[in-house]
Every structure is written in structure tokens, then in C-alpha cells.
């Protein structure tokens, strides 16, 4: 029986968009009606949406993109030195977010770059580093198959984790997480910060390389999936994932030969966010696999450089669509206030881009107090994200939602059609370099990124 014939057998099963009166008329006959809360698209996107709809099979393009995203199977396979794998010169410094000029850097970004110059030995003092600032080459991590939390700075000598896709040929990189307190990613560059970076380079990196060579590769997708069952969101809470990771690292670490193994064990054990960088790199494999699908309006990057918030779409290649980075609405630590907060910063919104973080908040009642919310509010936030996403993740599941997969693959077209903005669950950096984390909270991606992106996609499909 054809689809049209099926309509004519039995009662119609109706959903309505628009005038309530029409829904009421159907209900008056005793037929069930699903009413939508339809809203006109965001201003300035109406023509672009019509042009995209007319030119491409948007649904098919997006199914292709999100299928590639959730089809990746990232594993942590080894360690490398940034300059050896990432196509960067001796004065190249990678950073979080969309492209950025030295003069536009916020406090924590500038501090992190100063720290990295000191670490690389390009400058002997912070003053020298600041003087050198305009001469270094800045490039987004996202352009180098990498992602970095907060300032996200990667310099040539840093050891990086190598993540490879067991289901494809993708690869991504991330630095090792330094822990909390005075750390480079929050813009600190005091001597102990540089010392810790050197320890990471000379001790942590090599020991982990050895551990992975004997005990790897480590299946990150499996750990993340389990961690969501244990109260992580994959962005602001990675305690369960870090614990699961350490359980896998421990046998080869303990069973190995050579010094510093106890230090490494204690360092990973003492840092609840150790897994964050690996979760992010796992996400990066997914979005890179999904990029370049003609006509697709799926978001392949949401990233902030502390000055601007930028997104990319699968169907618009490497172009960034940016808007001023918003200030996070959240709870502040100690005596800090919103006055102390830097604008939103970091590549960590890659987690939301792949169905974690704010999109998985329903899995993480333990985090909601920290970011200033309620458990029921967290569930509602996750539920709201299904409206703007393309799939439910096959392995990242939310127990309280009857193990429904997390909302995965943000569709910019659905964002502008509904006005529902991606919710990001994030830490807040102090605006003064080196102050560190001043709070945590929730932030919505700026509207302007999505309206520009959809307009650009319309131009792109018109050219094709």
C-alpha cells in the first residue's frame, strides 16, 4: 500500500502548526491532535531558509552529516609532540575559538600566550613576551585537528594526546589537562605554571606514552558512555570519566618499569578534569568527519576565544560565523562576581556540539547546583535540545530519560526556525590573567552566529 493510500485508511493522525482554532476543530471531532508551538523564524533568515529548502534535500544532507558524526569511534592511541604532528612553525601558537589577533586577546588569552612564550623560551620575562606578542603567529586549534579548553593554547613543544578513529581515518589532538588553580589555560604564567608544563612535557607525557604503548588504545566512546550513566555531563563534570580512565591506565602504569609512576598516578587521580581534554578531542574527531557535506546545516564547531563566539557548519566548509562572546550566567566562587568574569572562552563547547555538556545535563544532577540550576531544570534543558538536533546518540544515553540517546548534531536551520539556542554548561574564567576559574554556569550560543551561518549556507547552495 502506498503512503498516500495509507492516509486514506483509518483516521488521520494530525499535528498542527499555526492557528489554534484549526486544532480545536479536529479535537472537537474526537480525533487526537499534536499541537506545535510554532514561532516565526529568527529575523532575517526567512529568505535563506526558503532558498536552502528549495535548493537541497536538507534532511538527507543533515542525516549524512550526523551519521558521520555519531559513526566515529575515537580511541586514545598515543602521545606526540605538537610540532611533530600539527603543522606549526616555531612561533605558531594555537588557541581556542575562532581566529584571533593579538590586539583583540582578552586577559586570560593574553596571559596564556605569555605563559606559552615563556615556556617555549621565546621570552625570558612576561614583559618581553608581551613585546613579542604582535609577532607570533596565532591560529585556531580547530584548524589543526585540535581543541583546547579555556584559552586552549598549544605551543610547539607541548606533548599532545593522539586520538584516532577506529571506524575511519580521523585523528585529533589535545593537550594534557593541567588541573585546577593556577594554570595556563586560565591565563596564569607564574613560574610554578611553567614548571608544571615542563613536568608535563618531561614526565607525564613520556610515562603516558609508555602506558598507552602497552595498555592502549583506550576506547573513549565507551568511557564517555559509561560516565553519563554515572552522573557526568562530559563538560563540567568529568569525575566519573576520569575515574574510569584511571582504572584502565592503572594496570599498565603500575606494571611498568621506570620512575615517576606514582607521581603520574597521583596527578591523574587528583584532577577531576583530566578526562575533559580527551572528551573534547573525541568530539573533534566526530565533527571533522561530519564537515564538508554539501548543503548540510549541521554545526561542526562552537568555540570561543574569549572575545568572540564562533560556529562552523558542515555545508559551509572552514568559514566561521562569529558574534561577541557572551558573559556566562552562573554562580561565582568565593568573593568573585560577574565583574570579575571574562567573556565566554574555550573550545570546550565541542562537547555540546557532539551531544554532551549542556545537552546531556539531564544525566548529571550532580552538576546542576554548581552551575546554578535545578535537577528538573537540567532535564528540561536536555529535552529542549532535541528540538534543534538531528539524532539521538547511539551510545551516550540518559538514564532518567529511559536511556534515550543524548540530543546530538545541532541543526542551525532548526535553531533559527525555533529560536531555541544551544545551551552550554561551562566554567567561567577570570578576566585578569592567571586568576583562574571564578565560577561556572550556563550560557546560550549567540543568535547572530546562527543567522549569519544560515544566510551563508543559502549563498553556498545557490552557488553550487
Amino acid at each position: 500500500m502506498s503512503r498516500l493510500e495509507r492516509l486514506l485508511t483509518g483516521e488521520p493522525r494530525v499535528a498542527t502548526a499555526g492557528i489554534d482554532l484549526l486544532a480545536e476543530g479536529v479535537e472537537a471531532q474526537g480525533a487526537a491532535v499534536t499541537r506545535t508551538e510554532w514561532h516565526p523564524p529568527l529575523e532575517g533568515t526567512e529568505d535563506a531558509l526558503a532558498a536552502i529548502t528549495a535548493a537541497v534535500d536538507l534532511r538527507a544532507a543533515n542525516e549524512e552529516a550526523v551519521g558521520r558524526l555519531v559513526g566515529t569511534h575515537p580511541h586514545w592511541t598515543g602521545m606526540a609532540v605538537a610540532r611533530e604532528v600539527m603543522e606549526m612553525g616555531e612561533r605558531t601558537f594555537l588557541h581556542a575559538g575562532p581566529p584571533l589577533q593579538w590586539d583583540d586577546c582578552s586577559g586570560p588569552m593574553r596571559g596564556a600566550l605569555v605563559g606559552a612564550m615563556l615556556y617555549e623560551g621565546l621570552a625570558a620575562t612576561p614583559e618581553e613576551a608581551i613585546a613579542l606578542g604582535p609577532e607570533i603567529e596565532l591560529s585556531p586549534c580547530h584548524h589543526h585537528r585540535a581543541v583546547g579548553p579555556m584559552a586552549g593554547v598549544i605551543s610547539p613543544s607541548m606533548p599532545v594526546s593522539v586520538i584516532e578513529d577506529a571506524a575511519g581515518d580521523g585523528v585529533s589532538y589535545a593537550t594534557l589537562n593541567e588541573g585546577l588553580g593556577k594554570v595556563l589555560r586560565y591565563g596564569a604564567f607564574a613560574p610554578e605554571v611553567i614548571e608544571r608544563l615542563k613536568w608535563i612535557e618531561t614526565v607525564l607525557g613520556p610515562v603516558l606514552a609508555d602506558v598507552l604503548a602497552r595498555g592502549g588504545p583506550i576506547d573513549l566512546r565507551s568511557i564517555i558512555g559509561q560516565a553519563l550513566q554515572m552522573g557526568d555531563d562530559g563538560h563540567n563534570r568529568n569525575r566519573a570519566a576520569t575515574s574510569l580512565l584511571l582504572r584502565q591506565l592503572a594496570p599498565p602504569l603500575i606494571g611498568g618499569e621506570g620512575p615517576h609512576r606514582d607521581e603520574v598516578f597521583r596527578f591523574v587521580e587528583g584532577n577531576d578534569h583530566f578526562m575533559l581534554n580527551l572528551v573534547m578531542a573525541a568530539g573533534k574527531i566526530g565533527v571533522d568527519a561530519a564537515s564538508g557535506v554539501p548543503g548540510s546545516s549541521m554545526v561542526t564547531a562552537m568555540a570561543r576565544n574569549g572575545t568572540e563566539f564562533g560556529i562552523r557548519l558542515s555545508g559551509t566548509g572552514d568559514a566561521w560565523f562569529t558574534a561577541p562572546a557572551p558573559v556566562v550566567d552562573g554562580l561565582y566562587l568565593g568573593a568573585f562576581t560577574a565583574e570579575d568574569a571574562n567573556a565566554d572562552i574555550g573550545d570546550s563547547a565541542i562537547t555540546e556540539t557532539v551531544g554532551l555538556g549542556g545537552f546531556a545535563m539531564a544525566a548529571s544532577p550532580a552538576i546542576v547546583g554548581f552551575v546554578g540550576g535545578t535537577a528538573s531544570g537540567a532535564v528540561q534543558r536536555t529535552l529542549a535540545m532535541y528540538e534543534i538536533t538531528l539524532a539521538e546518540h547511539p551510545d551516550y544515553k540518559v538514564p532518567i530519560l529511559e536511556s534515550r540517546g543524548t540530543p546530538t548534531g545541532i541543526d542551525a536551520a532548526r535553531v533559527v526556525r525555533t529560536g531555541v539556542l544551544p545551551v552550554i554548561n561551562t566554567g567561567i574564567a577570570g578576566k585578569e590573567p592567571g586568576v583562574g576559574m571564578v565560577g561556572a554556569g550556563i550560557v546560550e550560543a549567540p543568535v547572530a552566529c546562527f543567522t549569519q551561518a544560515v544566510q551563508a549556507l543559502a549563498e553556498e547552495v545557490a552557488r553550487a
Binding site: I19, A31, T36, E37, T53, D57, Q380, R414
Partner: protein, 469 residues
């Protein structure tokens, strides 16, 4: 004093805003209330009402303009507004209850739906409908003002996906016994309708219902489907579907006369159907004729449709004035009158279609809101050049809940003033308004009531000619 307020990015559909305006209007002390989206049109209305027009608005903003007796009235008026705007509460399934979907494709996810009913503003209908189709939903697009190129694209997509696109500008359908939009509670039965005219479809279905014959499905196509541009895509698809439908024994195609090449294409497809097919082209023949042809195809004889004659109270001389809520019935009445009095004389008659854009800007369709038509009926009674008023009343789902209660007092006054009133009542016995009750109320007020629009027109002509009907 005036109170003008703009609520940014607050959207409600026009019907809800009109209901809200009406609710605020009822608050004592409120002289004028305009609650509307800040479109150019509505800003113009605001200016016409001599309100200060706020600058820097977009069509996504909601305007609230109140003219009140005193400042103390404003708070009460705004409270009434907010109460009127509160949508039906979402289902309470605890903290894991999903919020209501925003898009039809979201509603369709994981749910067993097969039809999307779209009445969003015309410029947005294309995106919503295409997405719904790609999600596997047939669509009925009530919205008008959809560019014809988008209509063609949607219908081609429908053909490709084997899904029906009813509309744009489709006001009436009956699918599996459920009326969608403006439709009558007709009995289920053997006649399937493919209709480019909503009121035409309603009228034929009601005439058949009166003759004891029910409807299997009535598939709307939208008013432009048989144009050269659209090429009858939905009509041909609907025809093929009804031909396959075991419940349908006779198919009726209702349309205004299409371009000859399109008519030929449809006739060819109709001839290829195994189910007998009747074409009713309004303007060339009456809806009565169409219903009779369908009955004949079923081997049944047509009898005159029911009427409620009014005692001749000695109406005054004068011409016929038409006060219609739909263009189809108005055009048919004019055609019947032209047959009786000559085309030129009929063309000279004043025959208003209150459903026309000219009369519906800023207010609901006359099938929902009769106020303007009532005013015109009153004015007609006061104008001695008119001897007969001919009007339609359309019942069914979607229409005014009790039109006769508003019309009866005005008709009573009009007949007392010597104006004869003839009503073409489009309704089925099962309609929620109670068709016979409505007919009796109108008849008691002095109107002659006919279920056949053509018969009503003939009666109006006979009265104007001074003879008995």
C-alpha cells in the same frame, strides 16, 4: 488616554490576537484595543486610529494599543490580555515530560503521525511544509500568500515522496471521516471529492448528505492547483488515490473552470480511472448539478434539496443584493442570476464577497466573525433601492458556533422594513451548530432558507421579479 506597548519577539497567531483584542475590548473603560503583531499593515491601522506609532519595531514584536477612559483601567486591561493569551497548558507528566514541539518534523519524530495541518503565515509555509513532507507527513496548507513557485516545488516533492500536498490556500478537507479546516459533519459514504474550491466542496458534500449519500474523503488541492503553473499536480494525485480507495465508488472533481489544456489532462486522467468520475466546473454548471451527476452515477435520482420557505410578508420592490462569506457561492449565485436575467443585468447587481482580502484585512474570516456582514445587512435594509438580500451561511467545523443567533435579530428588523431575506445555508444535519435548528431560527426571523445555493439564487430572483418563488 492612550497606552501603547511593544512586547519584543512575542508571537501569537492572528486569530488568538483577535480573540485577545475582543477580550480586552470587554473590559469596562476600554474604548479601543488593538492587539496585533507589528506588521506594516497593523502599524498602519494604529496610525489610522491616531495612536502614537512606536518606532524600531519588527514584525516579530507584539503591539498593545489601548485607548482607555482613565489610567486605572490599563492594569485590568493588561491582565485580561495576559489571561486571553495563555495557551493551553502543556501535559503534566512530571519533570521528564517533553516540552511541546515547535516544528511539525519534531512532532513527527517517533510518533505515528501522517498529516500536518499548516496555517502559519504564508511566507513561512514553504519551509514548514517541505520539512513536514520530508518527515513523512502528508500536508494540508491552510495558509495563503504562498508564492506559486513554492507551491509547485512542494507538490513535486509530494509526488516524489508519494505524499499529498493539499493547498496552499486549502480551507477544506475530510480525511477518514475527520473534517479538517472548514468542513461539515457529513455521513461516511461512497462519494470521494477532489476539490480546488473549499466552499464548493462543502456545498456538494452537504447536498449529497441531504440526499442520504455520504462522503468517503474530500481532498482539497488549493485554489491554484488547476492553473497552468501548477498543472493539477494535487488533483491528479488525489484522483489516483481515490481511484484506488475501496470505499470510494464515485469521484467528484470540484473546481472553477481551468485552462483548457489542464482540463484536458484532468479529463484524460478521470477517463483512465476505474471509478466513475464526475467533473463539476463551477461557473459552467451549478453545485446542484454536480451533486445530481454524482447521484446519477450511483444510480440514484436527485430530488430538490431541502428548503424552509418564508411566508410572503409583502416585501418591497427593488433589486437583489448579495452578502456572501465566500467567493464560490457568490459567483455561483451570480451565474444563476445571469441565466435568469441576462449577464449584463446580473453583472450590475451588488454582490459582495466578505471573504475577499479587501474585507478580511485585520479581521477574521466572515465565516468566523459576522459583524461586518451584519452591519451591511442592516444598511441594506435601510436602503429602499434593494428589495431582496441574498446571503450564505456556512456551518460546520471551524465556522461560527451559532451564526443564526446573531443573524436572526438583524433579519427580523430587515424583513419588518420590507426587505426580503433569502439564505443559502451550507450545512449537514450533523453539524455542531445544529443545521435544522439554525435553519428554523433564520426562518422564524423571516428568511427563506435553502440548502441549495442555486435554489436560493433562483428564489431571490423570483422575489425581485415580484412573483412567487
Amino acid at each position: 488616554m492612550d497606552h501603547v506597548e511593544v512586547r519584543r519577539r512575542t508571537y501569537h497567531d492572528s486569530v488568538r490576537l483577535m480573540q485577545a483584542s475582543a477580550a480586552v475590548q470587554k473590559v469596562p473603560g476600554v474604548e479601543v484595543a488593538l492587539i496585533a503583531m507589528a506588521t506594516d499593515l497593523n502599524l498602519g491601522l494604529l496610525e489610522d486610529l491616531h495612536f502614537d506609532v512606536p518606532g524600531d519595531t519588527t514584525p516579530d514584536d507584539m503591539l498593545i494599543a489601548l485607548r482607555v477612559a482613565g489610567g486605572d483601567v490599563v492594569a485590568g486591561a493588561l491582565a485580561a490580555l495576559d489571561a486571553a493569551l495563555v495557551a493551553a497548558p502543556a501535559s503534566d507528566g512530571g519533570m521528564t515530560a517533553a516540552p511541546p514541539p515547535h516544528l511539525l518534523s519534531s512532532a513527527a519524530r517517533g510518533a505515528d503521525l501522517n498529516l500536518g495541518l499548516i496555517s502559519v503565515p504564508g511566507p513561512h509555509a514553504f519551509v514548514e511544509a517541505a520539512d513536514a513532507l520530508r518527515s513523512g507527513l502528508n500536508v494540508m496548507i491552510f495558509s495563503d500568500n504562498v508564492p506559486v513557485g513554492q507551491e509547485v516545488a512542494l507538490k513535486r516533492l509530494g509526488v516524489e515522496l508519494d505524499l499529498l500536498v493539499m493547498g496552499p490556500d486549502c480551507g477544506t478537507a475530510i480525511v477518514g471521516g475527520v473534517g479538517l479546516g472548514f468542513a461539515n459533519a457529513v455521513k461516511p459514504g461512497p462519494v470521494g471529492i477532489v476539490g480546488a474550491s473549499g466552499t464548493g466542496t462543502q456545498h456538494i458534500s452537504c447536498l449529497l448528505d441531504d440526499a442520504g449519500v455520504g462522503i468517503s474523503h474530500a481532498l482539497g488541492t488549493g485554489s491554484r492547483d488547476l492553473s497552468t503553473d501548477v498543472g493539477a499536480l494535487a488533483t491528479l494525485q488525489g484522483l489516483a488515490a481515490l481511484d484506488e480507495d475501496p470505499a470510494t465508488e464515485v469521484i467528484v472533481i470540484v473546481s472553477k473552470p481551468p485552462a483548457p489544456e489542464i482540463a484536458a489532462r484532468v479529463r484524460e486522467a478521470a477517463a483512465a480511472c476505474t471509478t466513475p468520475t464526475v467533473m463539476c466546473l463551477i461557473g459552467e454548471e451549478t453545485l446542484e448539478d454536480g451533486a445530481a451527476a454524482a447521484l446519477a452515477a450511483l444510480g440514484r435520482e436527485a430530488a430538490p434539496a431541502r428548503s424552509w420557505e418564508a411566508p410572503d410578508a409583502g416585501h418591497r420592490p427593488g433589486t437583489v443584493k448579495g452578502l456572501f462569506s465566500g467567493g464560490t457561492l457568490r459567483d455561483e449565485a451570480r451565474m444563476v442570476l445571469a441565466g435568469l436575467m441576462g449577464a449584463e443585468a446580473a453583472a450590475g447587481l451588488e454582490m459582495i464577497d466578505f471573504g475577499d482580502d479587501e474585507y478580511t484585512r485585520g479581521r477574521p474570516h466572515p465565516m468566523i466573525d459576522q459583524r461586518l456582514r451584519l452591519e451591511h445587512l442592516g444598511a441594506t435594509a435601510a436602503d429602499p433601492s434593494f428589495g431582496v438580500a441574498l446571503l450564505d451561511v456556512v456551518l460546520g467545523y471551524g465556522s461560527h458556533a451559532d451564526p443564526a443567533s446573531e443573524l436572526a435579530p438583524v433579519i427580523e428588523k430587515a424583513t419588518e422594513a420590507g426587505l426580503a431575506v433569502v439564505v443559502s445555508l451550507c450545512g449537514a444535519a450533523g453539524d455542531p451548530q445544529g443545521r435544522d435548528l439554525q435553519a428554523e431560527l433564520l426562518n422564524e426571523a423571516g428568511a427563506a432558507v435553502f440548502l441549495s445555493n442555486a435554489a436560493a439564487a433562483r428564489h431571490a430572483h423570483a422575489l425581485a421579479e415580484g412573483g412567487a418563488a
